[in-house]
Symmetry: D2
Subunit: 486 residues, 4 copies
């Protein structure tokens, strides 16, 4: 099966949890359905059955593949549940790595799901192994369970606090015990996590507000950096497990990952994107016959650019809405003949026209190259590529799947070189300042609370296990960059 | 499984055929994939194997469900193939009705797929039965095969011409014999059908040009009303089986059914829709804070309205892109709580705003009602509904699944009544003249070659089996309409 | 999937029908389950729904593959049903050929399933085609429906009688209309067909009595040659459509096809087989250490041989009971290494022993060769092959899949040659007289009512379409046989 | 899905491993296929890929359900593999419990599969949990991995020896590391485990010799109590991890579990069963018209009884060979009507006859009751039940799923009471001495090396975690038994 990714830029997962509502697992299904864009390679749900036992169903593929039959949901009875949709990095596609994980402790069970990436996973893994821990998966998610298990603290709450202070990096956890739903966010709040309230008083946690809307929950509040949310029969309790916090939410959530109808710290994603397009039009205006966005993630930015530049906004690229899964692949011969499944250029629209093509980011550059070629084959006279974010130049260690700079075209080439490689007639990026201004988080913090590290290498935390490796690479890169910026 | 339809307005099918190309069945898969929007309830492919035998694979569901394994495509070897995606009316969902049909004649085979609806199917069925014909399906597609079989003419070509002169209504047929690929269009050209040519010289026929693009074929020409296209090893032959032709292509293809990147008689669908929006803005301007389209089919019209009215175009409604198939349904309790899977309103965008909502049509009115409510719940101050086509008031007998006027809200209520029922602050439709002008077919014919019957009851052909039934209903309706317009 | 056949000798199908019982389709499932040995490549059930509509579900594979979900049975409501399990000849494995067939007549429906083979199928097919009939399958089962449809008689009963007088060969039909269950047997009764009665008064028809036992029905009576059984709300009616009848039931039903617990014309199959073994011991005694049967079909004969010869009966060959379906095949290398899935020889039992191996028939000889080799590899000192039936020398045209004598080892070689080829230490067959005596049907007719044609070429009917072809081959064979027996 | 068990007496699993052969996973498939009778509820294979990584595929159901596609086997490349077929006790049917388990240690991986039951699992579980171990399954198989992991010994070999000395009860383990295949047997050798050698020199381990035959391996030798078998690129090494050994192999392996073609310590299972039947005929002769065995496990004993008693051996009960899996169940109404899927009595054979029915064991008595009733309904005049083993009176703690005496009819009733309850005309069991003599292991040990505890309560080891619980129950039972035998 081919699982289509918009680009080689992948979020690692979406999480959802609910407590205090009938048919919690079914509600979790619909919550995860609204988060499916955050991961399409696996999904799972753990429910707290009426007798408080935790029950798990998980599998590979889309949510609808995993829950391909009512019976799977019906088996998950009860008033509490957590769920997960997973994006899997290559080599880790086994069923073993699909979350939530369910652990059998002596007197109770613990289920755990995770969005993010730990920067000290290797060290902790090594340490825990040395103490005799056994791991079933390749995922760093198991680590938290082992840390909790090994804590000498008397209560689960204290054990969890101790464990959360040991893991570093970006993480949004949801946990379920036989008595409670728990969520926790890293001290920088790299990944989004929100709380909602149901009409009946029950609570929901989710990676994005769009999942609250999908299940009819009211937005309650964002989970803040360093907070634990503890929901059980007595209600909701929110407390901090650390005071050393500083918001640095992933700016790529606004640029690319999150759904346009989600709000993050009060900022609507569509509106932020539209503003990115507007500011881009101001920073990098060019005269043309039309503005086209790459569907679906760049349509907001494209319409903003068009509006600001007062150039017609057109549908020049069509994305096949049934592309999400197919088991049949074109042969090499068919591919060369021009068989394509995902994007089509609208010849009648772009023929003999000067086109401004708005996209949200460039990773390797190959996708941009392909789309520019598509438009030119369809007769576009000029294609001016405008990227509604700054160039991606540095890896992310907090949960986005970019870990080698070698693959980042902007880390290795100048704008001019990139323009040539991609085949565009011109190329421009939004400035860092433009991005920060477009999002405009109402926060007092560096970069107004955004993590901008992929653009400027300014990581808001130590890198732990990645430090040496990265510094070495960064030095190599610096030379390239210095060479480039001469 | 829930197969999501945009609205209760359904095209009956898409067809594709190819002759003279390696791996014809696989190419047909990709052609049908581009036509999947025309039918999601079943699909099938017949290939002409290297030994000239016809082989069939078909099944229920999306193309990716039916061809869930490479082996199904690999079993369909050869250089010729036809395929079909089906929308099934209720009660006819059995495998028996999935096309293409494959008939075993004494010395040869015939495969047949069909987009459209015959108006004299019942009469012909009765006649053929009286002569001893046996039917395996409920579909009217089998009829053509029986007519061919019973013809006394000496050659298949003559038999086909005789048969095509007996069937009435709207039809685009593709047929495959052990030697040829054949396509045929009804004398009014109600349904679209185009020819493409492959780089290697082979030919393709398809319901829409987007399928030509998907397989790397060049547009060759539209099939004209009353034409037969005959493709075999000697090349392509196009001839007319009747001289009594008059183009009346379904205007709803432009409004709703066809993909925006398809061209019909040289007119691009997206561009026509954008123009519908523009003319609608001229005809029914209203001041507001933003224009929103109902995704995905109304986005072109909405952007046209916004551009013409100079009002910001916003993404105020988000469609879940993974909604195509799910086996899990919300309970009634969850539905009441607000669980929804398909459309979300973007609260931050529409809150306290005056919204112009552009949609392409209203059938029962229930969908519009739901969307208006969604926007109001999300805080929209005003919702002005603008429909980029005239009101649907009459049934279609040529291939769209509207056969009872009772269900058409516009056939039964005034604009004012509809506005109230739907809950909008105002409601306006594009005029008939506006629609014709927006599409602007370069054709000398009534309504510039469009069928406008669903809007004005002006059917371009006799209605045969539907005549009495419809006239009776029409009279009933007239009274209602007259009553209403007092 | 590998569907395991005991040998290259295949019955074409089992049929079952019930009328006047709740949950008729489910009962049909269990009836077919008891007939699964008669065909494993496809299955289907048609039920007469409470509103009298016929509904069909069918598919490829074992019954449990086709009805892999309760929902398939639950969809088939009503008090009447017919079903079919199919053995498919090569090249006819498509879904199109799986029975029952369901035909949509103008005012009613007809479902049809069939066990047997028509000898004038080609002629009728040609004739019907010439009159305009269209066939959907390669099966000769459709023919009866066309004959009924074309009959000028006023009632279905008369139409059916006319049609049954036109088809020739071996056939056991079950039909279902919107009002009745009908069964019919050919004038020679080549294939078995029985009637049972349910505790509640409803009736059942089935290929074998084991299916009556499986659903709790009492044996009512055998269907006799040339009879029609008509069951509807008024009860059961049995009448003859022809007076030219003569029982010639397939002797291979007793030897190999039927289940040991079935009775045919009052004779139990296990008992007949045991008697074949006893008579074989009398006709072809040899001294040995043990008697072994080829599981499962030859165990009765083997125990009969052992009892008569007073030699220990041992389990020297084990058949893997999970062999019915597997998707994984050994590679050639593994096969050469000795990987086997189906039969094992029990080394400790046969080592250094003189073994009498009892089998029920030899078709190509390859299976016998393999089993003898298996026993010798396991250490058997001598293997004396005893076949509990006469040599198979002639094709069958009434429903067994032997149509070419070229493949029958006994048609081409002497006993001595066969012994050498198979690698046995001796080989003997039961005599024709022995077989007739072992079965001992209480019937006044040639061969006591058995068809012995595969053994002696004495076909009880003209061969129609097969006549010329076969006579030609027979002459060729005669020469070979004469040459051999010199 | 209904997975048919012969009776409520279940072995917990079969294991297979191979090292030093191409396509090891495929060979493991065929080895497990021969062991499928030992567990039908789950299966899995771990292969050691060419780069030494371990890869796992496992799932619920029959082997053919789990490996339903060639791709699953093809993904498991390499020259080493282990596999497992599982019988699951109620409540433990989740995928989490399907073996082999695969553990990710820091520098290597460990895969583990297990046949048997630990008597100190609870204590060890508690101990390990107290030390911080986390369990993913309910199975006691994980325990060995934790013990190995926590050992302070420097090498895996020493760690394993230490761990094996900590687990108590019955166990046959197969393990795979990135370098070796390892097998180990408990100090009493409760479960069978054998070594075979392939033509190319590679080695195989398996629960039964029938799996060696299935893959073309020569029997090498039995694994003896307390031995570890270590196979890697340097060859095979066998050593003892304890000197405190005493053979007590499960006598029920001979009576019921093992395949008739397997040999255990040189004794063929079919031959032992036949001898059980012969000795039973000597001990409990009765005059009758025929001897019938309950298929399939009692056919050997029945033929032995018949031979010794010189009474005809008949096929009076037929087992449907397609019963292994079905998803459709009879309704209560159908069940009452007599619908049955598994066993049929052959009326013509047993009618008016005095029948000796031979079975291998009685657990609850309900199956025997059903079969006796079946024969009587089919007309048997008398049914004399003869059991080819002593009465089952005590639970097993070493791997058979009998853990409550309450369910054992023989633990609660006298022979007379049982005869009445079952409805037989007489009932007799083989004596303990008869069973020992029939198997006749060439071993100097109590009971000639057999575990007879289920018959006489003489457990060859301390019972650890089961001690208190069982003693309490045993005392209760003693009273019942004493009361009964007065």
């Amino acid at each position: 099966m081919q699982l289509t990714q918009e680009k080689s830029l992948n979020e690692e997962c979406g999480v959802f949890g609910v407590y205090g509502a009938d048919d919690a697992a079914r509600m979790t299904y619909f919550g995860l359905h609204a988060l499916q864009h955050r991961g399409q390679e696996g999904a799972g749900i753990v429910a707290q059955n009426p007798d408080s036992r935790l029950m798990l169903h998980r599998g590979l593929g889309l949510l609808s593949d995993v829950f391909s039959n009512e019976q799977y949901i019906e088996a998950l009875q009860g008033r509490g549940a957590i769920g997960h949709v997973r994006y899997a990095t290559a080599g880790n596609r086994g069923l073993e790595n699909i979350q939530p994980f369910l652990f059998q402790f002596e007197y109770e069970q613990l289920a755990l799901a995770h969005n993010g990436n730990l920067t000290n996973a290797k060290s902790l893994h090594r340490l825990l192994e040395a103490e005799g821990a056994i791991f079933h998966s390749n995922s760093d998610t198991e680590i938290l369970a082992h840390l909790i298990r090994r804590s000498q603290k008397p209560t689960l709450k204290e054990q969890l606090v101790e464990a959360l202070n040991q893991v570093k990096g970006g993480f949004a956890y949801v946990l379920m015990t036989n008595q409670a739903l728990i969520a926790a966010l890293d001290p920088n709040g790299f990944r989004p996590l929100v709380i909602g309230q149901l009409p009946n008083g029950g609570f929901v946690v989710a990676s994005e507000t769009c999942a609250l809307d999908a299940v009819g929950a009211e937005f309650y509040r964002d989970v803040l950096p360093g907070e634990v949310v503890w929901i059980d029969e007595t209600g909701i309790e929110i407390f901090s497990y650390t005071s050393k916090t500083q918001l640095s939410i992933c700016s790529m959530e606004f640029v690319y990952f999150a759904r346009p109808d989600s709000n993050i710290y009060g900022v609507n994603v569509h509106s932020a994107r539209k503003m990115m397009g507007k500011l881009l039009a101001k920073e990098a205006y060019i005269d043309a016959d039309m503005v086209i966005g790459v569907p679906n993630s760049s349509l907001s930015a494209a319409s903003g650019y068009a509006e600001e530049a007062n150039i017609p906004y057109e549908l020049g690229l069509i994305k096949n809405q049934y592309v999400a899964r197919t088991f049949i692949q074109p042969t090499q011969a068919l591919r060369e003949q021009g068989v394509r499944m995902k994007l089509s250029a609208v010849r009648k629209v772009v023929e003999n026209k000067r086109v401004i093509l708005v996209d949200d980011s460039i990773v390797r550059g190959t996708t941009s190259q392909r789309i520019v070629a598509l438009l030119k084959e369809a007769g576009a006279k000029e294609v001016h590529l405008r990227i509604a974010a700054p160039p991606l130049k540095y890896p992310c260690f907090y949960g986005i799947d970019i870990q080698t700079q070698q693959e980042l075209i902007a880390a290795n080439y100048t704008i001019e070189e990139m323009t040539t490689k991609i085949g565009a007639d011109s190329l421009a990026f939004l400035s860092e300042q433009g991005l920060i201004q477009a999002i405009d988080l109402p926060v007092q913090a560096p970069y107004q609370g955004l993590c901008m590290a992929y653009f400027n290498g300014d990581y808001p935390t130590p890198l732990y296990d990645y430090e040496t490796e990265f510094l070495h690479k960064k030095n190599q890169l610096r030379q390239v960059v210095l060479g480039e910026t001469k």
